[in-house]
């Protein structure tokens, strides 16, 4: 596996899905075990990746490069650098935990776990692909499993949520497709002179045709790509699919959606838009900062207004992704590193929050915040775990969210002072909605309806504790993740700002 570690990480889940398809549907335990095994392999490989990754190099590592479709110079080109490594680790980690968290899925488990594994393959592929066409295929491969996971195993309004997610994302993707073809037709391979999908060639401005150097054209392509990615993030005003999808999706799918899928939007901007169109990145940076600020405040205010716990967490994601955008816009070392660290941290923290909401929903079958009260005495262990994740979300020093948000503010403040000051309000509103929810659910007089709720069980703790440990560790000592990405990101800053 050493040679093709990225391919194994990407395609092992597909093998698992194929195996599951041929297991009789009554053998539910077998199906779940196979799924867990298929997701465990990428996790083990991810650990190996973490150990072997050369932190001092900004070059792509673990590269695999083969011809796929010769006539159109489409290649199977995989490789990772400091930007993709944290995302690959996050994907492998969360996917495995989500399979464990889905153990109580009863309805058609065969389809559920097979689709989940295909989803994992798609996510992994997006973060590893270095050929634009390959990237696009992986990007789209995720849509179909996600549609079914929300649509079949989701809540009451699942049909609406599923197609809305699908339509929004596809609308963004087709714009990206056109931008991709425009690149393909106007970037030449320096060796052969032919058209190419190779991202590394697209990064090099010298390979761009004269047409692609026209400022107006570049602006249009930037915007097409940006809309494609913005829908995924989601950036205001393209965010409306997110609350619907989250509320209806089953717990584990929400975790993946918020933990990994949203990151693909910001990852796409950093991987594709920034290096391919660096001057447009600079041109757009102020707008990006403002959009980030809107996301932070608007998301936070919307979160405060929610009466459904899951919707609250969903809007908190909109808010937290705003910090990522803000950090990216500054193009300073602290801002950029903070942004990518925030991508990782938000993935873990929001996963904890969604899993925690799932715990109470499985027992009470409601997520109505005002319907609870005094749960702290009824479920003390659960109370401590959930509050831990909520404190991480509001940016309590000592937990990982604080580190990345602080880095972002430090990085952006010298560049966009006013925007930073306004955005900082988001921290206060964030604390407000988090603590208010905590108070209404866990404190106050106990609602007698919930006298029989059992506390969190071992399996659920098994999914939550590892994430909690990472959140704590990175809060005290963030270097393990920062070391991974530092060199690559500083190199990227040189490309866009220099």
């Amino acid at each position: 596996m050493g040679e093709h570690i990225l391919s194994w990480m990407t395609f092992f889940p597909v093998i698992g899905a194929a195996v599951i398809a041929f297991i009789p549907s009554q053998r539910k335990e077998v199906i779940k075990t196979v799924a867990a095994a298929a997701a465990a392999v990428p996790l083990i490989l991810a650990v190996q990746l973490f150990i072997n990754f050369d932190r001092g190099s900004s070059a792509f590592q673990f590269v695999e490069h083969y011809t796929w479709i010769k006539a159109f110079n489409i290649e199977y080109f995989m490789g990772i650098d400091g930007l993709s490594v944290p995302m690959v680790l996050l994907t492998a980690f969360l996917s495995f935990l989500c399979i464990i968290a889905s153990w109580n899925i009863d309805r058609a488990p065969k389809g559920y776990f097979a689709l989940f594994l295909i989803l994992e393959a798609g996510m992994m592929g997006v973060f590893c692909a270095l050929d634009f066409f390959l990237f696009y295929v992986f990007w789209e491969v995720m849509l179909l499993p996600m549609y079914f996971l929300i649509g079949i195993w989701g809540g009451p309004r699942r049909e609406y949520a599923a197609i809305k997610f699908f339509l929004y994302t596809l609308a963004g993707s087709v714009l990206m497709l056109l931008a991709m073809i425009a690149f393909y037709l106007n970037v030449s391979d320096p060796v052969t002179g032919g058209h190419t999908f190779n991202m590394l060639h697209m990064f090099d401005q010298a390979n761009h045709s004269d047409w692609l150097h026209l400022t107006n054209i570049r602006h249009i392509i930037w915007i097409a790509l940006f809309i494609g990615f913005a829908i995924k993030v989601p950036i205001f005003p393209f965010h409306t699919w997110l609350p619907d999808a989250h509320v209806e999706a089953p717990t584990a799918v929400s975790v993946i959606l918020a933990g990994v899928l949203l990151k693909m939007g910001t990852y796409g901007i950093l991987r594709i838009s920034y290096p391919m169109l660096p001057d447009q990145a600079a041109w757009f940076s102020y707008a990006l900062a403002v959009l980030g600020c809107i996301n932070i405040l608007y998301g936070a205010y919307c979160a405060m207004a929610q009466s459904d716990m899951k919707k609250l967490v969903a809007y908190s994601s909109v808010s937290h992704m705003g910090y990522v955008l803000l950090g990216m816009s500054a193009m300073t070392s602290a801002g950029m590193n903070g942004a990518v660290l925030q991508m990782f941290n938000h993935g873990t923290i929001t996963a904890m929050m969604f899993l925690s909401v799932g715990v109470v929903y499985d027992r009470a079958h409601t997520r109505e915040i005002n319907g609870f009260g005094g749960l702290g005495t009824q479920m003390p262990l659960y109370f401590s775990v959930f509050s831990f994740s909520l404190f991480a979300a509001l940016g309590l020093p000592g937990l990982s969210g604080f580190v990345s948000e602080a880095m972002i503010f430090m990085g952006v403040f010298p560049v966009y002072r006013t925007v930073t000051i306004i955005s900082a309000l988001g921290i206060i509103i964030g604390a407000a909605y988090v603590l208010w929810m905590l108070q209404r659910v866990f404190l106050g007089p106990k609602n007698e309806k919930w006298d029989n709720l059992p506390d969190i069980n071992v399996r659920e703790m098994f999914t939550l504790v590892p994430i909690g440990l990472i959140v704590l560790l990175l809060g005290v000592y963030p270097m393990p993740v920062l070391d991974l990405m530092k060199v690559t990101l500083n190199n990227l800053i040189k490309v866009v700002a220099g």
Binding site: W68, A108, V137, G151, L170, L185
Partner: protein, 510 residues
């Protein structure tokens, strides 16, 4: 004869027409067999038609390796040519014909107990296949018209196959009337063209046009009239009105082959006619005159954009799956026409590639409707609720077809769209590419309405949720269509080569 530039046919070149000859012989034998052997199921014509299609197909495949194919074999003088393009379409039509025949065998609509003359269906499919093949081979306006009429006549009969059904007979009558009007329009255009150039064969027409002088207005009228006639055949807006009614009224296996075969044949004819008479050939100076007389790329681009938008928007509102697929097939004609806009080899290759993929996925979607109709006797979307769990493998394959029709990776339909988009963007038709891209999103909504019914919507409490068992032949044919739809989405190199070679070895006569 000399006036018409037609040579006396010689028998020596007929060897290259073996696939067509086998089909015609099969047609006669199947009819005869049907009359002589009576049974509950018309096994004799069925077996004969399968045998004839397989034999014809193997001849057609064998002809691919013939070294002379690149230059083209003229048959009956210059009326018909068997070249790379024709060989490509022969295989496409035989494949579609064979899939239809096999699937029809399991269809209650065709094989139902009360149906009379069941055997005729198989015989007629053979004849239709042969006629479509000739359409792809015609290179003379006389043959062009005759082959189109041959396809039309067989189609009229097939559409009215259920002669006791009001819908089916109405479909047939509509088809006849629309067909006759469009043929007349096109024939008028062709007669004007003959008057202008004095030639019947495409090469001669081109030579006369290049030699000039050309009356621009006359040529415009001719182009518009001919495009109108061909638009009828491929069901492009505004000549699409017949299409949904006939697809809905005809038995579903017939609609399946209608949605693929005659459309592909129409494209074959369009490609050959316009590419050989009007395209800018290698001798740009000589051909510039023809192109510049009229801005017909814009004309095609507008037809393309309107067709795909209309098809998609109307499909949104359909609740009958068959009718929805009819409008979807109109939308796909719009996509296909994108490749036609500039008459560049890249665009034409994209059309051929898309036609191959479209054949797989569209036949698959229609066949699923056939299979379900056997059990439910309905094509209404509301009756499809919960079917995905009653027949999971068939449902999964239907999802493959629908996702591919939408154009999402990793299915072959996406690759087809990708080539069309690339061809259009390469020549900087940005607005057309954007219209088409947005149309894909619209398509998603109605294709996934079906997916939603199959898998997402919970069936009513009293609904039948027992597992559905389909005929093994149905699973087999669906798999033969679904697996390539997926595989060609992941590795389509060979398919693309086939399309490229077909265009490269088309004999153009300049």
């Amino acid at each position: 004869m000399e006036l018409l530039n037609v040579n006396i046919p010689s028998w020596s070149d007929m060897g290259n027409w073996l696939p067509e000859a086998v089909l015609c012989a099969g047609f006669l034998v199947a009819l005869l067999g049907d009359m002589l052997v009576k049974g509950r199921k018309p096994a004799v014509p069925f077996v004969i038609s399968v045998f004839a299609l397989v034999a014809s197909g193997s001849y057609a495949v064998a002809s691919l390796t013939d070294p002379g194919l690149g230059a083209g074999f003229s048959i009956m003088g210059d009326l018909v040519v068997v070249d790379g393009l024709a060989a490509f379409f022969r295989i496409l039509f035989i494949f579609a014909g064979l899939a239809t025949v096999l699937f029809a065998w399991t269809s209650e609509e065709i094989m139902g107990a009360k149906r009379e003359n069941k055997g005729e269906f198989y015989a007629l499919t053979l004849l239709l296949t042969a006629a479509m093949m000739v359409m792809a081979e015609a290179r003379d306006i006389l043959m062009l018209f005759l082959s189109m009429e041959a396809v039309g006549l067989v189609s009229y009969v097939m559409a009215g196959y259920m002669r006791t059904s009001l819908r089916s007979t109405e479909a047939s009558l509509k088809y006849v009337i629309f067909g006759a009007v469009s043929s007349a329009i096109m024939l008028y255009g062709l007669s004007l063209l003959y008057g202008m150039t004095g030639a019947m064969d495409f090469a001669g027409i081109r030579a006369a046009l290049v030699a000039g002088p050309v009356n621009p207005f006359g040529l415009l009228v001719v182009t518009v009239l001919v495009i109108a006639g061909m638009s009828y055949k491929i069901a492009a807006v505004p000549f699409h009105f017949w299409c949904p009614d006939i697809y809905e009224g005809a038995p579903t296996p017939v609609s399946a082959i209608f949605s693929v075969g005659p459309k592909a044949a129409g494209f074959a004819l369009m490609i050959r006619f316009f590419y050989t008479t009007l395209a800018a050939g290698p001798d740009a100076a000589a051909s510039v005159g023809i192109i510049e007389v009229i801005n017909w790329p814009l004309l095609i681009a507008v037809i393309s954009a309107v067709t795909m938008t209309y098809g998609n928007l109307v499909a949104l509102r359909q609740n009958n799956v068959k009718r929805m697929l009819a409008f979807s097939s109109i939308a796909h004609v719009g996509y296909l026409l994108m490749g036609f806009v500039l008459l560049t080899p890249a665009g034409l290759q994209a059309i051929l590639f898309y036609l191959l993929v479209y054949t797989l996925m569209n036949l698959g979607a229609f066949f699923y409707v056939v299979a379900i109709n056997n059990h439910l006797k309905s094509e209404e979307l509301e009756d499809y609720v919960g079917l995905g769990f009653r027949a999971p493998w068939a449902g999964a394959m239907m999802v493959v077809f629908l996702a591919s029709l939408t154009g999402i990776p990793p299915f072959a339909g996406f690759i087809g769209k990708f080539y069309l988009f690339t061809a259009v963007l390469d020549k900087e038709w940005f607005w057309l590419a954007i219209v088409a891209a947005l149309n894909s999103v619209v398509g998603l909504y109605y294709y996934f309405k079906v997916v939603k019914a199959l898998f997402l919507t919970s069936p009513a409490a009293d609904a039948d949720t027992s597992p559905l068992k389909l005929h093994w032949l149905q699973y087999a044919v669906l798999a033969v269509l679904a697996i390539p739809t997926l595989v060609f989405g992941l590795y389509w190199g060979p398919l693309k080569d086939m399309a490229d070679i077909a265009i490269a070895t088309m004999t153009v006569g300049f």
